[in-house]
Structure formats: structure tokens, C-alpha cells
């Protein structure tokens, strides 16, 4: 259960932790776009250097980032292998039918690997340094312009915050039910695929029942406290754009210029 890193916030007070969540959200997306500007070794080097710098600023051990990579490692390796075998151009080292290993293939395989690692590192950095509810809040305020086209911004962001809020609660609940069923002789991690699928039923049904009960309680509690939709609601956490947010945007601007220069070099 604890392997899932998504939405796992590491409390801290580093510069990265203190950035405005809107800035963090936008800049991490921007970083992912910039990654695709890289087309040679020096530009990848610059990206990794920038990434390392932000990780240092966040004061989080590098081990956490590798843990983020681990669940996706097979997908990454699969893509890398595809790149290596199906790219053409450069010196041919080996080939068989349509498969070939060429120097271009090897290089682009490594590039793909680097891209994946960078994307995962940056999104892990975002979730490790920003509480899930802050991310939801940031999304709400960034989506606000969509209200003009009658997009239900408040409702969507409320749904998102509730979903995020209840992830740990439901995980706890699932763990409790698993323990209870284990005590009744269920084996969740042994037996054939069919047996394991069957073992999920005694977990899922109670989990659904309790989730529905919880949803109903939550709805009652919200109404009792006067919730009537998002219109006119004030916020407890108000986002403030500060000096260091502008500064980090400037850092990204510098990164972009650097990337453009290196790209055409």
C-alpha cells in the first residue's frame, strides 16, 4: 500500500515548498514541455543540471525520486527497447529483418530514458512538495477563466479535492478490511490468478459500502455547515504571488533561453 507515491506530500519549509502552488503547477507543466526542446547531449545535461538544482533546493533525498520511477520502470524500458530496435540511421551494429540496432537508435533510446526520468522527477517534486489540496486549489484558480464558457469550475475542483482528501482514508479502510478478511482465512497474495481475483470481492464490497456511507455522511455534514455550491465561497488558503515566484519564473526563462541556444548549437 505504501508503495504508491502519488499524492504523498513530504512536509518541509524549503524554497520549493513555499512557492505558490499555482506557480509550481504551471512551471512543472512548462518544464515537461521544455524537455521536448532537448535534442543533443548538452541540452539534456542542462535539463538534468536544472533538475538537480531544484531537488537540492527542495531538500529532499534523491531516493524518493527513484521510488517514483520504479513503478513505471517496465513501461520505460519497453519504450526504450522499441526506440533502440526500430530507429534507423547512423552506423548499423546489428540487424535482423526489420529490427536493427544503430547508433542513432541507441542514442535516441537513451534520450527517451532521460525524458521519462526528467518528467517523473519533476512531477514527483510537485507532489512531494505540495499538499494535494493545494494542488486542487491551484487548479481551481487556474481554471477560473473557463467559467466564461460555463465550465463547472467549482464543482470540478470540489470533486477533485474530495477525491484527493479521501485517498488516504479509503486506503486505511481498505487495509482494515483486508486485515479482517485475512483473519478469516483470505489469502490476497497467494494462489492462482482466478483465486486472487475472487479474493478481491470480500475486500471491494465492504469498501464500496463504506465509501457510500461516508459520501452520504459527508453530504449531510456539508449541508449542515451551509454548503450551497461554490458561488460566493471564500477561501481559507489564499494564494499569494510573491517575489520568489517571479524569481522562479525568471529561472525557467533562463532555462528556456539556454535550451534554445544549445539546441541550435
Amino acid at each position: 500500500m505504501n508503495k504508491i507515491l502519488l499524492g504523498r506530500y513530504l512536509p518541509g519549509s524549503s524554497l520549493i515548498h513555499r512557492l505558490d502552488p499555482r506557480a509550481k503547477l504551471l512551471l512543472s507543466f512548462y518544464f515537461i514541455i521544455i524537455i521536448f526542446l532537448a535534442n543533443n547531449w548538452s541540452s539534456y545535461f542542462l535539463l538534468f543540471f536544472f533538475m538537480a538544482l531544484t531537488i537540492l533546493l527542495a531538500k529532499i533525498k534523491i531516493g524518493f525520486f527513484w521510488k517514483g520511477v520504479r513503478p513505471l520502470i517496465w513501461l520505460i524500458l519497453f519504450t526504450v527497447v522499441l526506440q533502440i530496435f526500430f530507429s534507423t540511421g547512423g552506423t548499423v551494429y546489428w540487424h535482423w529483418g526489420i529490427l536493427s540496432v544503430t547508433s542513432t537508435g541507441l542514442v535516441s533510446g537513451i534520450y527517451v530514458f532521460c525524458r521519462f526520468v526528467l518528467i517523473i522527477f519533476m512531477s514527483t517534486l510537485l507532489t512531494l512538495t505540495t499538499p494535494p489540496l493545494e494542488i486542487a486549489g491551484a487548479m481551481e484558480s487556474l481554471l477560473k477563466p473557463l467559467k466564461k464558457v460555463h465550465f463547472p469550475v467549482y464543482e470540478v475542483s470540489l470533486m477533485l479535492s474530495i477525491a484527493l482528501r479521501f485517498v488516504p482514508t479509503l486506503m486505511d479502510e481498505a487495509l482494515k478490511i483486508m486485515n479482517a478478511q485475512r483473519s478469516r482465512g483470505v489469502n490476497f497474495d497467494q494462489g492462482s490468478l482466478m483465486q486472487r481475483l475472487k479474493a478481491v470481492v470480500p475486500l471491494l464490497i465492504p469498501l464500496f459500502v463504506s465509501a457510500f456511507n461516508r459520501a452520504e455522511d459527508l453530504a449531510t455534514a456539508m449541508e449542515a455547515r451551509g454548503y450551497h455550491g461554490g458561488e460566493g465561497r471564500t477561501k481559507y488558503r489564499v494564494h499569494q504571488w510573491l517575489y520568489h515566484d517571479t524569481l522562479s519564473c525568471l529561472a525557467f526563462l533562463a532555462l528556456t533561453i539556454g535550451m534554445l541556444l544549445l539546441r541550435n548549437w
Partner: protein, 293 residues
């Protein structure tokens, strides 16, 4: 007397080697004889629930070892070795009705024996016996467990554990959320089962009245450490010590203690239950008072 349970310097650490690492059990050692009734008390987060989960191998110690019903559990024990233990140690978790999922009450009770490889017919037979043991009326057996009242759901869930015919019964706040009548019925049910089936019972509870009434020894946990193992009589006579650790007293004991403070009246020993209190007080009242009324 044979030992049913023996802990030797058990440590348990949640999420070791991360910033979230948390030591829930710290060098816990104790032993409980067969057919004993032990209460575990302590505040929320003192490690009671973690301790309980070791008893049927849901958790394995990070360091140290324990023996339950002649099954040794060390950090290296595999889950396969523990399957038999799960059958011998029945655990009733907090709010056990959360484990109900089958279409009918009977099928839900029969779930555990079927998991342990008992055939359908025999499992249904066992389930009927268990339902009878917890005094569920026959009329509910074919209903969906989700149609029942809270108290009845609790009974179904308890029957679902008793059906395994465990030798050790672990109860983690089994009466939380029940009304006083349901509470008393369930507690008496466990006491009856213990004497009928010669069970070793372990009760996690915040209800000092239950501890005083039913347990023959008490383990006190605080911040992952075992503070003391005593009989209820010894424990509840150390009022100062209990206050220091923010633990409550049984109502009868508290009443007696307050009387002693405000008068020259001395109880010996300090009563633990209402009937003990009444007996001692009655000795001091002039005979025949009740007839006068």
C-alpha cells in the same frame, strides 16, 4: 499451566527507513497462560492495535519474536506458515461489521471455514452453530447482512469469527458504538464462550468497568512500551499511579475512592465492581433498612 502467548522483546516499526518511520512497539515482553482473560489498556496510539495484529500474524515483529499457540513468529516467518495460526486465533476487530459482504447472513458466517477448506455443507452447519452461540434468531439467517440493525450486524460479524472455533479470541473494542444493553449482552456472551470452550481471551478496551469485571490480568501500554502486567485488583488500587498515566478507574472503584477521601471509611480491598461495592457497604449499614422502606 501452559503458556498460550509469549512475547520476547518484540519491536514493531511502521515504514522503517523513511521519514515516516514510527516505532509502534518497543521491546514488548510478556506471557499469558492458557485460558486466561487478559485486558490490554492504554491510550489511542499506545500500540494496542499493533500488538493485537501480531497475535494472528497480520504483522510480524521487526525485531524479537513471539510464540502463539506453539507457533513461533519471527521477522523471517513466511505467510504460509501462518495460515494455521489464523484459524486458531480469532480476531474481532473494531467495528467488525465492516467485514460483512456476502448475500446472506449464513453465507457470511460460513465464509471463514470455507476459506480453510471445509466443504460447503459442514461450513453451513458450523455457521448455524455459531449463529446460535451469538443468539441470532433463525429468521435473519437468510437475510442480507446489510438489512440488519447495528447490534445484529455486530453479532453476525462476531459469529463469522467464532465459526472457526479459535482457541484464542482477540477482541479489539468489541462493543464500541453499541447501546448499553447490546454492550452487556456481548460482554456476557464472551464470558460464557470463554468458560464453555476454554478460550484464551484478549480484550482491548477503554471500558475500565469491563476490565474490572471480566479480566484476570491487565497489560498497560504507553507509547509502544508495556508499562506493567498486573491483576485488576492490584492495578486499580494504585489510584495515584493510574492518575499519573491518565488512565481511568472502574466506576465502583472511583466511588469508593471518593468516599475514602471524604470520610474515615476504609474499604478493603478496594471494590472493583458495583456488586463488590454494594456488599462492602451493606456490611456497614444497619440491618433491616430495606424492610423499613
Amino acid at each position: 499451566m501452559d503458556l498460550s502467548i509469549n512475547f520476547e522483546k518484540v519491536d514493531y516499526i511502521y515504514q522503517p527507513n523513511t521519514p515516516f518511520a514510527h516505532q509502534a512497539l518497543n521491546q514488548v515482553s510478556f506471557s499469558l497462560p492458557d485460558e486466561s482473560y487478559t485486558a490490554i489498556i492504554g491510550h489511542t496510539g499506545s500500540g494496542k492495535s499493533t500488538l493485537v495484529q501480531h497475535l494472528n500474524g497480520l504483522l510480524k515483529p521487526t525485531h524479537g519474536r513471539l510464540m502463539v499457540q506453539e507457533q513461533m513468529i519471527t521477522p523471517q516467518t513466511t505467510n504460509k506458515e501462518l495460515s494455521d495460526l489464523r484459524r486458531q486465533v480469532g480476531v474481532v476487530f473494531q467495528f467488525p461489521e465492516a467485514q460483512l459482504f456476502e448475500e446472506t447472513v449464513l453465507r457470511d458466517i460460513a465464509f471463514a471455514p470455507k476459506n480453510f477448506g471445509i466443504d460447503e455443507e459442514k461450513a453451513a452447519q458450523l455457521a448455524k452453530e455459531a449463529a446460535e452461540a451469538v443468539r441470532l434468531p433463525d429468521s435473519v439467517l437468510d437475510k442480507s447482512p446489510f438489512e440488519l440493525s447495528g447490534g445484529q450486524m455486530r453479532r453476525v460479524a462476531i459469529a463469522g469469527i467464532l465459526v472457526m472455533k479459535p482457541k484464542v479470541l482477540v477482541l479489539d473494542e468489541p462493543t464500541a458504538g453499541l447501546d448499553p444493553k447490546g454492550h452487556q449482552e456481548i460482554m456476557e456472551l464472551f464470558a460464557r464462550l470463554k468458560s464453555q470452550q476454554h478460550l484464551t481471551v484478549i480484550l482491548v478496551s477503554h471500558q475500565m468497568d469491563d476490565v474490572a469485571e471480566y479480566a484476570d490480568q491487565v497489560l498497560v501500554m504507553e507509547q509502544g512500551k508495556l508499562l506493567t502486567q498486573q491483576t485488576p485488583q492490584q492495578l486499580f488500587s494504585q489510584v495515584e499511579w493510574l492518575n499519573k498515566h491518565h488512565l481511568g478507574l472502574p466506576h465502583a472503584t472511583k466511588f469508593a475512592f471518593e468516599i475514602e477521601k471524604k470520610s474515615t471509611f476504609k474499604f478493603s480491598p478496594l471494590p472493583l465492581t458495583v456488586s463488590q461495592l454494594a456488599n462492602q457497604l451493606a456490611n456497614f449499614l444497619p440491618k433491616g433498612v430495606s424492610q423499613d422502606e
